[in-house]
Amino acid sequence: MAQVEFQEVVKRYGSFEAVKSVSFTVEDGEFVALVGPSGCGKTTTLNLIAGLLDLTGGAIRVGGRQINDLDPKDRDIAMVFQNYALYPNKTVRQNLGFPLRMRKVPKRELEEKVNDAARLLDITHLLDRRPRELSGGQQQRVALGRALVRDPQVFLMDEPLSNLDAKLRVQMRAELKRFHQDLNATVIYVTHDQLEAMTMADKMAVMSGGVLQQYDTPERVFEEPANVFVAGFVGSPAMNLLPARVVENGGAVQAAGEGWELALSPRNAASARRASGDAVILGARHSSLILHEEAAPGCIAAKIYTVEPTGDLTYAHVEVGGKTFVISLDPQRRIRADQPVWIEFDQDRLHLFDAVTEQRLPPG
């Protein structure tokens, strides 16, 4: 197992820059999720580590050794593909054994390792089948087995669960996490699903448009999103974002928008003063907002757009200053569409962003 270090990695396809000067370090034994919307450069980044693509600039080091110019076969990494990429004309046993065979592992040892991997993944009874005779979940296991079997320095996984149905996905998610803990492996895991990233990873690398937006633990990414993009991307339902103007009013700092104003607490006032101009964006998670059915001081007037009960929680969609907020409610509460409501902000959990740079404004 080894550390993986990205140093100002750039990848261009022709004139299109798919990965823009990305730097981060995955520590030995860490599970890092590379997460971002479709087309943001996740697969490209992963393929750069694997050596399936050539870097345009920068360097990648694995265990301190620069691997930029090595062939994929010499990098000692394993990869699980989204479509599993099992060899269709080989049996499961041959699929699992292939990486070992190519490395000229003696036959006895090869068989032993294949059997061990099969036992670990509970696919011993499938060893003599061909991939097309397996279910999606079973193929997924074989793909994982082919990666496990040769004990590589780094595991790369490109959306390995996205072809499974929802139930199996949750189950495999737990299993993968368990494998990581048991094997103490370095894993770089690509997903577009922020929930998958949050639940599985030690650290999240959030990407957008080829740029690494934030690299931190899931808790920190959730609680201190580095910018508006991360704030909107991580968490479900997404964070509510509301553009506002900061007005200083004889010592009191207020955020104001179309037909509403909110006195900021000293903590948030200090953040607001750090903004490059007077334009900021307020960010509030659904759970940090309280819905009142009667006017109350320090609240913003709004109107219910629609109500979505999910069983555990009810989500109220609320129209505020030309935007729609999602607020979670106790399912016992009876709220109707078009009802006038008042929103109270939990100011200790309010996020402020500079509207120009879109960067987080840290609290005072």
Binding site: G51, F81, Y84, A85, R132
Partner: protein, 283 residues
Amino acid sequence: MDKRRITRWHVFGWIFLVFLLIYAVTPLLWMLITSFKSQFAALQYPPDLYPKNPTTEQYVRLLSPQNDVGRQFLRYLLNSIMVSTVTTILGVAVAVPAAYAFSRFRFPGRKALFFSVLFRNMFPAVVFLMPLFIMMRWMGLVNTYSSLVITYLTFGLPLSIWLLKGFYDNIPVQLEQAARIDGCTRFQAFYLIVMPLSAPGIIATAIYSFITAWNEYVYALTFLNDDQKLTLPVGLQRFFTEYATNWPGLMAASFIMSVPVVAMFLILQKYFVRALTEGAVKA
């Protein structure tokens, strides 16, 4: 679903197929029957539906190097085998990497090259007869096997490349990537993983090249005139117009000539079916 309608279509289908079968098999069968008749019986009117005194005399004569006719026939057979085999081997050797490159790599002029390859197919082969003959004479290739091999390759390759490219397009690139990560070089990934998956396509292509070369007549007639170099289709024609028309002999020779074609079609069919059902390499 309406069961009755399905069975009615089944019946129509069967009748259609039976007619098609009769249409395809009757000439072949008549050829085979005639080839076992004596020369006299073959000319009888009304003809016998089956040989009364079947004789393998024609086959023995054609296939034995002991007599002039046999020597000549075997010579033509050998020429045809040689030209067709070389065409097939070279064709596959060029088509496989070319199709793979067209499918996998983006290089400048890729589109233009691909369409120029197809562009040739817009014209019937005869259009190129004179220009190619002049070219061959200029290169000193008239009356050589090479002239035929080159011509057949020119005409056969576009379709072979087109056909094979379809196969490679359907093989996910991730399979090669997985193979390279699992320890293959680029070439090994192709050779060990991709090529076996495209085997049905390669075999179909090979058989197609072989049969086209085997049956070709016009170019062989134009480019070759040395009696020792003729291929079967041209040779047969000369052979049997030189002597009095020997129908059973001609039929026996034609039948021998059609044996590889029929055999290959049987294999081809098996591989086409496999290619269609098993070609499901998509994830």
